[in-house]
Symmetry: C2
Subunit: 383 residues, 2 copies
């Protein structure tokens, strides 16, 4: 009941026949006020899905009163017909909830190029509206799952206020402001501008640092709704810290459920000149198929780490790099150090530390290993 | 006998005990003149192996008289000791062949962080010098193989002159001027400056357009030696065309032998504003694990193509893109067109065409699919 934990929200999840399995595939989250402040970040992919094109207009005034989501089809590259479906769904939500369609964010996920059957979705909205309840968070969270094996939810408690969140995402996980569908609710009193500032700060160090497979989605949306129902206005720093905690929690849940993964890998770059340098270096390693396959094989192949580091423009001396895996410094001053055989990569959690010895900035990027199961799942997904 | 096809060259390949299998692992190519013009391109990876650091100095004066190569260890990130090994090998070649060490290019390939046993390599050079012959090209080509399943050789005949080449490479294949070890020989009379110009023109549209797994090696070297033994000075345009043909032939052989691959994928972007735009878009698709896994599953998933296109900065209208797979236009104007079920992806050769409708430039990037065998091979390589 994560997203319905904060006061002022109702939610529901139903099966509308979009998934061939008959599982829940539509969700609705409604902010009942008294305030309707919101902030949203979208994928930076230029090939944006129809619901993103619609929702970008919806969020411009900082007011969002409902979010309707579906799995079973991304409604991306489905043309004018697809956009009209998104619009029709928003209009139906507006009619049933008694609000304006221009305050309804629409999110879709699933196969690109697949049109969602409009009649099913309209009927789905009717069922959702009838099922709205103040403990509907679980149903909503399960309705947005695609290849996810578990639903992702989190709650962070403040002093008299709280934040709840749900997320979906298991593949096409690479950062671009947002890399999945996430709905966050809070009953704190916080205006849209502050909410936007807090959301961008939180996603920058959470979802933006997740790079499971280097592939950036066309539909990613993270939207936060603030009802103000607690009547409490927390200090912005407190709220931002709590929101960051919640986003990091959800990002970690996404990481642990990434398609076919057997290892969660935290790549930390230390002593970089800038945080951007640290992120660039960490991300280059996170995107090395050779490194990721080696981790799958429990092989502490630090050579593949340095080969990736060398492709970046960050400031460092190629002849003076240190690399640790699970705390063992297998490379010091760009030469072999501790015996790699002493590194135990069998646990699911793997850490890689790269010391650039050039400054005092640092950053961590999270990724997964490249496994047979990943290849299997993604070679068989749509056909 | 590819590299010994042009007049003026001798070569050899021997087993020096670097590979645990006992297979050939050292090669030597000697230019016997009368001219010793050369040109070389190296990996742009900033983490360069010791032989690259050495050879960068060797090639500066445009004179190279011998190339010594080894598989079984990349001699990368092995410190001062490793550099001294490279130097000692060059000195030994110089002594045995009767030339200066500063005219000896050294190339190594294999595991990063692994020191090559110096005594084995010195003994190997002695054996190589004793085995040098004017038909030693085959032996040399097989001695530089690592995970290659076949040796790669090619010859292009000019009017009274010829070009021969050998290459090794199966993994860590991504462009950075050069992405593998390649030695090219010619008996044409051509000075070092023209040779450099021709080599850069040829690699730009061949090896640089090969992106098998997005991973850039630390050891890549492409070196061309011109003996002038034919006595013929071809027009530079003719020589460049022949060299481009040879490089493309070798690049195609590398593509077909890429680790674990089941498909060779040519991604062609047409009607781009610039060739750089076309390359950027094609390369983004070539690096999408989701797209590559889909091709492995014979799934014409054009949505994953567009999702990658959208991550680039190239000029195009996201709402007006066409995509064809194996000649079938599955997407027109960014909406579904022909039924993807009519696309047959079972042949090894796959073509993807992306029409940006923005200009008249075009480019092709070659890649492979992402397969179980790739994951298997790269999770078990070093351990």
């Amino acid at each position: 009941m994560s997203i319905t934990a904060p006061a002022g929200f109702t939610a529901a999840g139903v099966a509308a026949g979009l998934k061939s399995t008959g599982a829940k595939d539509m969700a609705l989250v409604v902010n009942n006020g008294p305030r309707f402040d919101s902030a949203t970040v979208f994928t930076s992919n230029r090939c944006k899905a129809n619901p993103v094109l619609w929702s970008q207009e919806v969020v411009k005034d900082g007011i969002v009163r409902a979010v309707v989501l579906n799995s079973g089809g991304a409604n991306c590259y489905t043309g004018a017909e697809g956009f009209q479906t998104t619009h029709a769904v928003a209009e139906k939500v507006a009619e049933k909830v008694g609000i304006g369609a221009i305050d309804v964010v629409v999110c879709s996920t699933g196969l690109i190029g697949l049109a969602n059957p409009r009649e099913n979705m309209i009927a789905g909205v009717e069922a959702l509206a009838a099922a709205l309840t103040s403990d509907g968070g679980d149903d909503a969270a399960s309705a947005i799952m695609t290849t996810d094996t578990v639903s992702k939810q989190a709650v962070v408690e403040g002093a008299g206020w709280s934040i709840g969140g749900m997320a979906k995402g298991a593949g096409m996980l690479a950062p671009a402001l947002a890399t999945m569908l996430v709905v966050i609710t809070t009953d704190a009193v916080i205006d849209a501008a502050d909410l936007d500032q807090a959301l961008r700060a939180a996603t920058r160090v959470s979802f933006d640092r997740l790079d499971s497979d280097g592939c950036q989605s066309t539909n990613d949306t993270v939207t936060v709704l603030a009802s103000g129902a607690s009547g409490i206005t927390p200090p912005l720093a407190d709220f931002t810290a709590a929101l960051t905690q919640l986003c990091t929690d959800l990002a970690t849940q996404l990481l642990k459920d990434a398609e076919g993964s057997e290892h969660d890998i935290a790549i930390t770059v230390v002593n970089a000149v800038t945080e951007d340098d640290a992120v660039e270096v960490a991300r280059s390693v996170a995107r090395s198929n050779l490194f990721k396959a080696a981790v799958f094989g429990n092989d502490p192949n630090w050579g593949r780490v340095l080969a990736s580091v060398g492709t970046t423009q960050a400031e460092f001396d190629p002849a003076d790099l240190d690399v640790a895996m699970n705390g063992v410094w297998v490379c010091k001053n760009s030469t072999p150090h501790a015996d790699p055989a002493t590194v135990d990569l069998t646990p699911r959690d793997v850490s890689v530390t790269i010391d650039l010895k050039s400054g005092d900035a640092r950053a961590t990027v999270w990724t997964n290993d490249l496994t047979h199961a990943y290849v299997h799942e993604n070679s068989a997904y749509s056909s």
